[in-house]
């Protein structure tokens, strides 16, 4: 190992050019040559500057010079030891006393000797280098033109935990992690169907992040897969760090505040979406799956809705929708009623409001704005704090500051109530990104309310709703199934009908296979519902 001084000297002496790839025709030839020394030299010229490159030289069966090359940081060392080095150094009994041609050696090694699950022959220089970077071990053999690429990747990962952002009362406790293979196994474990298709390919010139597109053949609309693949294929960037990067490249309306692609940490939610005829996109190193197409109704639905009784679930769903609307319009309505139309309030209440506002130095509009902004600051401040401190801070912020502000005559108590209602309302929405869009849109609404009263609020609301109506996610109208209306869809958007009552997949997705249940499935619950429980007499 060299000292920092040496490292500094070599770095200073080296050339630093802004190039995408250092591959030159010369090195490609070198890598294709049968001589081991040539190949090693070529690989060193590419990867030698990284100190975690390991070149392990040994003799195959004690005779032929060879080298195993891998990146120490991304491989399973025990696997390399047990499955590659050990079998290669001891000749297996079935090969004893056999004469093996040097050209056939890679084949023989793959078939008779090596114990790894993934292995293939490779001659292309670029693929060899990329596979080393991805955690494969490359086996170079003196005299053989072909090299072997052996699957030894191992990345450190955390255990599967309950998703922090989407907790459920009743439902699976597993969430996606950062490793694509684990995520795919969570998904395949739920969808044991031979129609589940998973297409994997890297995106990102530098990160080469593997992106997986999952869908169920025979359910999904082929045009949708077509569109998704075509949009993915158009991404040409150097880094995909998270699924959120992909989302921004493929969404329909980048200038809209509303999310048009749902992201979820839950494998069960992803599986349910695939069954409905949607497409899921997953990215290595991101615990989020992107679900396309997305309609607005998805943002106030949770898995709990489907595991609990349908009446309760329908009610809760409506509560969430109301909370969402509340978080958007309550402060604006308050400002416009207080400053322009106080006659709308019942007289007693109007007197109480006026009493509370006595001594407040600002107009209602400024007052609400100040409190709303400080509430946003408080939310942003607590969101990144450790949980213990966060709890304490929010108590200080909400209770103490709120109470003190009122008694200091800084704002009226009713304003604090309104702002608190708004904030709580927006946290009742399961999807953080959709809630935040509406939370932010209430500021322009407060401005409109402060300048034009109810008329301004109405203009603002019409603008927002028109924008929502004009959005599309992969060709599906954003407000579907409300507009364009479909009775079958409303059964599972505003309300949550009993599962046996929703026999079809959502029609706005145009699935190839429309029905999800046989007709007779609904018969027995229907009979029990309308004719009383039916019981077969025991013979």
């Amino acid at each position: 190992m060299s000292s920092w001084k040496q490292i500094f000297e070599t770095y200073k002496a080296g050339k630093h050019e802004p190039v995408e790839s250092r591959m030159t025709p010369g090195t490609t030839v070198q890598l294709a040559s049968p001589s081991l020394e040539d190949k090693l030299e070529a690989i060193h010229s590419f990867l030698g500057e990284s100190d975690d490159l390991i070149v392990r030289r040994f003799r195959v069966f004690g005779e032929i010079e060879a080298a195993a090359i891998f990146m120490a940081s991304v491989v399973d060392h025990i696997l390399i030891h047990e499955a590659i080095l050990k079998p290669l150094m001891n000749i297996p009994p079935q090969l004893n006393f056999k004469v093996i041609d040097l050209k056939e050696l890679p084949d023989v090694l793959l078939k008779d000797c090596l114990l790894v699950t993934g292995g293939m022959k490779e001659t292309e220089a670029e693929k060899l280098l990329n596979s080393i970077m991805q955690g494969s071990t490359v086996l170079l053999i003196d005299g053989a033109p072909e090299s072997l690429v052996l699957q030894t990747r191992k990345i450190e990962k955390r255990g599967i935990e309950q998703p922090q952002t989407e907790q459920v009362i009743r439902g699976a406790r597993e969430g996606f992690v950062e490793v694509l293979e684990t995520n795919l196994s969570l998904l395949r474990g739920r969808l044991q169907s031979n129609d589940l298709r998973i297409k994997i390919s890297p995106i990102g010139r530098r990160t080469r992040s593997r992106v997986a597109v999952c869908y169920i053949e025979g359910i999904v609309n082929p045009q949708l897969v077509d569109e998704a693949l075509s949009r993915l294929s158009k991404i040409d960037t150097d880094a995909i760090i998270d699924a959120g990067y992909i989302e921004q490249f493929i969404e329909d309306h980048p200038m809209s505040p509303f999310p048009q692609i749902q992201s979820t940490e839950r494998p069960d939610k992803t599986a349910a979406a695939l069954i409905e005829g949607r497409v899921a996109i997953m990215v290595d190193n991101s615990p989020f799956a992107l679900i396309i197409p997305t309609v607005f109704a998805q943002f106030y639905q949770t898995l709990d809705d489907y595991t609990e009784r349908f009446m309760i679930a329908s009610l809760i769903r409506m509560v969430r929708l109301i909370a969402l609307i509340f978080s958007l319009i309550t402060p604006a309505l308050y400002v416009s009623v207080i400053s322009f139309n106080p006659e709308l309030l019942p007289t007693d209440f109007a007197v109480a409001v006026a009493g509370g506002r006595a001594g407040v130095p600002f107009p209602a509009f400024i007052e609400v704005l100040i409190i709303e902004v400080s509430m946003e600051v408080l939310r942003e401040a607590t969101i990144r704090l450790p949980q213990m401190i966060g709890g304490a801070l929010s108590i200080v912020g909400v209770l103490v500051i709120g109470q003190a502000a009122v008694s200091a005559g800084f704002c009226s108590p009713i304003t604090v109530v309104i702002v608190a209602l708004t904030t709580i309302g927006s946290f009742a929405t399961p999807a953080y990104n959709a809630a935040i869009a509406l939370r932010m849109l209430r500021f322009p609404l407060i401005f409109l309310a402060g300048t034009f009263g109810l008329y301004g609020v109405m203009i603002g609301l019409i603008l927002i709703v028109n924008h929502l109506l004009s959005l599309e996610s992969f060709g599906v109208p954003y407000v579907a199934p409300i507009v364009p209306g479909s009775w079958q869809g409303i059964k599972d958007s505003l309300m949550r009908g009993p599962l046996w009552w929703i026999p079809n997949r959502p029609s706005y997705l145009h699935p190839v296979n429309k029905r999800r249940q046989a007709k007779k499935t609904a018969k027995s619950p229907m009979d029990s519902a309308f004719k009383g429980p039916t019981r077969k007499e025991n013979p």
Partner: protein, 370 residues
Amino acid sequence: MNRSTPTGQITPLQTQAIVISSIVGIGVLTFPTYMAQAADSGGPLVTLLGIVFSCISLIPLSLVGRRFPKENIVVYSGKLIGKWPTLLFCFTLILMFLLVTGGIVRETAEAISLIVLPRTPPEITAIMLLSLTALSARRNIIKFSYIHTFYLPFILVPGLIILIGSLRNADYLNLLPFTGIHPKNVISGALTIMGLFQVSFILAMVIPHMSKPQKALNCSFWSIACAGALYLFIVTASTAVFGAEEMKEMVYPTLELARSSSISVSGLQRVDGIFIIVWVLTVFTTLISTYYISLYLIGRIFDLQDHRMLATFLIPFVFIVSLIPQDFFQLYDSMNLISIVGLCLTFGYPLLLYIISFIQKGVRGNETTG
């Protein structure tokens, strides 16, 4: 997945929503006064007559649209009566609907500044309404139909609740005699109603994009019936509550009706604030329809890909139009004049087209059989 305007996607229900929410508009605020002036307590009857007339006046449009289900009005009119007469008719229609748009904007701005924002200049209110319309009218006709479908329940349901709430003050003796005491201007009253209903001309724009154009006639009947029922309810309720003589003196009888309405469970002292909200919505849906007719016709005449730029550039023109009338009375007089002229166009033009297409088809039919 296709982002260009798809054809044949507007369902009959959406068509009805478009026509209903286009018809229910600015007029609901003032028309009971005109009805009272036309035939005092016979107002509801005059309204009914106007509704029947409007229903009949939509027939030629639906029939001729049904005959050319895949073509827009500019194309088939060009085939039937030639290029230049079509251009003449279309430009008159465009001008008329732009004038109507300007008039509605002015009326709304005046009403807003009279009722809710007394200290805001009406021009500012008008500019806001116009920018809202311009932004919303940029979309293609499918999105246009979504807008109407979405807002329809928000127009009808609160409107009906407010009306029902006002009925507790009703004195049904006010409605008698049904024929009115001095029915002087029955025809002109019915014409006023027809004038309010002429935004239903939007049907001509919708038919080529319908999934089932043969249902156009059916749709037009139902939507006129539905909107007509609302109008009839409003005029009956306001006549019953106020009496015809009192109503003649009012500027906004429907607003007064909403003020007198009280719904105990709403927790609000007065519901006229809600009424103004609903009313802004109805004005918006009417405004976007009248403006869209102009944009659509210009777009088809010049064969434009989309009318986004047009929607923005025509706004100053509409704004200037809205500034022309000196006062309220001039505004209402000119609006009446425009609507009478408009009636001749929106009824006469499709009728002409239908007659000619009928004759042509007859001739052609004879040729093929003979």
